[in-house]
């Protein structure tokens, strides 16, 4: 699945051109479209983390929105204390990972259905707790006074996405990445060659929650209003699942494609059928998991394989 890295070695200048193009977009692009691109970058970061937990550890987190929201709260408080944007989103990521540490120590003992339901419960409890405590703004939410222009936010999000993608590709073939791959393929075999499974699962979990927190911090800087009903709802968990499964489970480019699909269709729906958005999303998701289990990237990959096979046969 690492053919993007191969492609980079072969035709690196194309990627550099794409990056330059993306970074120069704020110079001539409409604010509305920039906002959509910003959201795509944010959700791609979150989806990368979500997919890592899902495919490398085999853990489906139905309450990942909890970590997204916790990043949002960290970032919001940091900005209320007049901390600048970039440190505040780093605080969001690190703070979320810090919260995730004890939770991971407990919940990572669970597997499959148990883990999924435990995370679902966690998100619901957090929802109750946040609404109960006035400190977190309750139902009214937190209102940020900081007002960053969409251009700044876009550049920050793009840099964060590039760094995340870089780390993901590097770690795929590093010693650490290979160990995690071994665990994801066969836990018993990994245990028998002396890998500490619990520790590697915890590292992956922490990195995944760090990315979710980072995404939450970025998103709240753009929204400037932090409502528990938007940040802690099951629908944002659903958006992560959608981005990962529609893009293609287990493939790094698939996450970016999935995020782009989800956010752009959401933006299109917002114009005329905002109310039934999730009904249509749900139908799309069900169709994808029943008929195209590889997602969009899986489809492209299959097509590319067939194409190159035919070319090599001709030669």
């Amino acid at each position: 699945m690492n053919f993007a890295l191969l492609a980079f070695k072969k035709r690196g200048w194309i990627w550099i051109l794409i990056a330059l193009f993306l970074f120069s977009l704020p110079l001539f692009m409409n604010e509305m479209y920039l906002k959509i691109l910003f959201n795509i970058a944010v959700w791609a970061i979150i989806a990368l983390g979500f997919d890592m937990l899902l495919t490398k550890c085999g853990l489906l987190s139905l309450g990942h929105t909890f970590f997204y929201a916790s990043g949002a709260y960290f970032s919001a408080y940091a900005q209320l204390f007049n901390i600048h944007l970039i440190p505040s989103i780093l605080i969001a990521g690190l703070g979320t990972a810090l919260i995730a540490l004890p939770l991971g120590l407990i919940t990572l003992k669970l597997r499959g259905f148990y883990f999924a339901m435990a995370t679902l419960g966690l998100a619901e409890i957090a929802h109750l707790a946040i609404r109960a405590f006035v400190l977190f703004g309750g139902d009214v939410g937190l209102w940020l006074s900081s007002d960053y222009s969409i251009e700044t936010l876009y550049i920050v999000a793009m840099v964060a996405l590039c760094v995340t993608l870089f780390i993901c590709y590097i770690s795929e073939n590093s010693k650490f990445g290979l160990k995690i791959k071994t665990i994801s393929m066969d836990e018993e075999a990994a245990k028998s060659i002396g890998l500490n499974i619990a520790r590697y699962k915890l590292y992956t979990f922490l990195f995944s929650t760090f990315l979710a927190g980072l995404g939450g911090g970025l998103a709240v800087s753009e929204h400037t209003v932090l409502l528990p009903s938007t940040f802690l709802s099951s629908t944002s968990s659903f958006k992560m699942i959608m981005a990962t499964l529609i893009g293609g489970m287990g493939a790094i480019p698939g996450q970016v494609i999935g995020a782009a699909f989800v956010i752009s269709t959401e933006a299109i729906f917002a114009m005329f059928i905002a109310d039934v958005k999730f009904i249509i999303f749900g139908l799309i998701l069900i169709a994808v998991i029943l008929f195209f289990p590889g997602g969009i990237y899986g489809g492209i990959y299959k097509f590319w394989l067939l194409y190159s096979l035919r070319k090599s046969k001709k030669a």
Binding site: L54, F113, I289
Partner: protein, 291 residues
């Protein structure tokens, strides 16, 4: 100062009765899990659908929720059997991620449909509010008593169905071993379809009872019900009928007693704590078998 004994007694009794409701809510999830082998996460939303049916029956025609079973059960039986036949049948032998995401997707679709049709406001049936029975100093709310009576009756009927009829026997056979049951001549596909409907009907009864309390399709309430029923099932040991009833009652009592130490409204959190403690000490549950 000591804790008032009658207060504790009240909490105990209402916890016991609430536990009956929890057991009933769990029955649908439990039956589906033990036979089909996957977590029907959309059952919470089907339950809320039944609650809406009961609510509108009461509001428009003045029918008591205790009689709207006869309307809600067939409707939910149909919907649930349709979902089973059209979607869930296809993922039974696939990975758990596919199964869970499918059920989650169905739940999200149902949630948005209900929000679209009936809005986000919480609704409830304003019947028997503030009425209670009194036995030698102990107060029991009338609503809770009715709810628990219906819940325990339904569980008893379900138990009769499972233990005395041919249908129940074949369900237990499939739950035990799918392949052997098929070899013995049980049509598993048909059984799944019937079971899917039955699960919907059980959930419909629970939904009509839920309608006495404030409910809403959107927000965290529905997921809290799903989570609570999973906790009850895991506590009882996955796949034990007796376990579900006892764990449900235990959870009801623990949640009610927790009012003494933590702020009210954190019942779900107590469920989470109980689940984690249970899984760390005795992972197979109260009545589960060790693997």
């Amino acid at each position: 100062m000591g804790i008032d004994l009658t207060y504790v007694g009240n909490l105990l009794i209402s916890g016991f009765l609430l536990g009956g409701l929890y057991s009933l809510i769990t029955m649908g999830l439990f039956l589906a899990w033990s036979v089909v082998g996957l977590i029907y996460m959309h059952l919470g939303h089907l339950m809320i659908l039944a609650a809406y049916i009961a609510f509108f029956m009461f509001k428009l025609y003045g029918i008591s929720p205790l009689f709207s079973f006869f309307i809600a059960c067939p409707i939910l039986f149909g919907i649930s059997a349709f979902l089973q036949h059209a979607l869930i049948k296809r993922v039974v032998s696939q990975s758990f991620v596919t199964q869970m995401v499918l059920c989650f997707g169905i739940a999200i679709i149902l949630e948005d449909l209900m929000v679209l049709l009936w809005g986000r406001e919480t609704k409830n049936i304003p019947l028997f509010i503030g009425e209670s029975f009194k036995f030698s100093g102990l107060f029991v709310s009338k609503t809770l008593l009715i709810v628990a009576a219906v819940a325990f009756t339904t569980i008893f009927l379900l138990w009769l169905l499972m233990s005395k009829t041919m249908f129940g026997k074949s369900v237990r056979a499939v739950a035990d071993n799918r392949e052997v049951a098929r070899l013995m001549g049980i049509d598993t596909e048909r059984l799944y379809l019937k079971l899917g409907g039955l699960v919907g009907a059980v959930v419909a009864v629970a939904g009509c009872l839920i309608a006495f309390y404030p409910f809403s399709a959107s927000g965290s309430g529905t997921w809290a019900y799903v989570f609570t029923s999973f906790v009850v099932m895991a506590l009882g040991g996955l796949g034990s009928f007796k376990g579900v009833i006892i764990a449900g009652i235990a959870l009801g009592i623990v949640q009610n007693m927790s009012i003494l130490i933590v702020p009210s409204g954190f019942g779900t959190a107590m469920g989470f704590v109980l689940l984690i403690v249970m899984l760390l000490i005795k992972p197979e549950g109260l009545f589960g078998e060790k693997h």
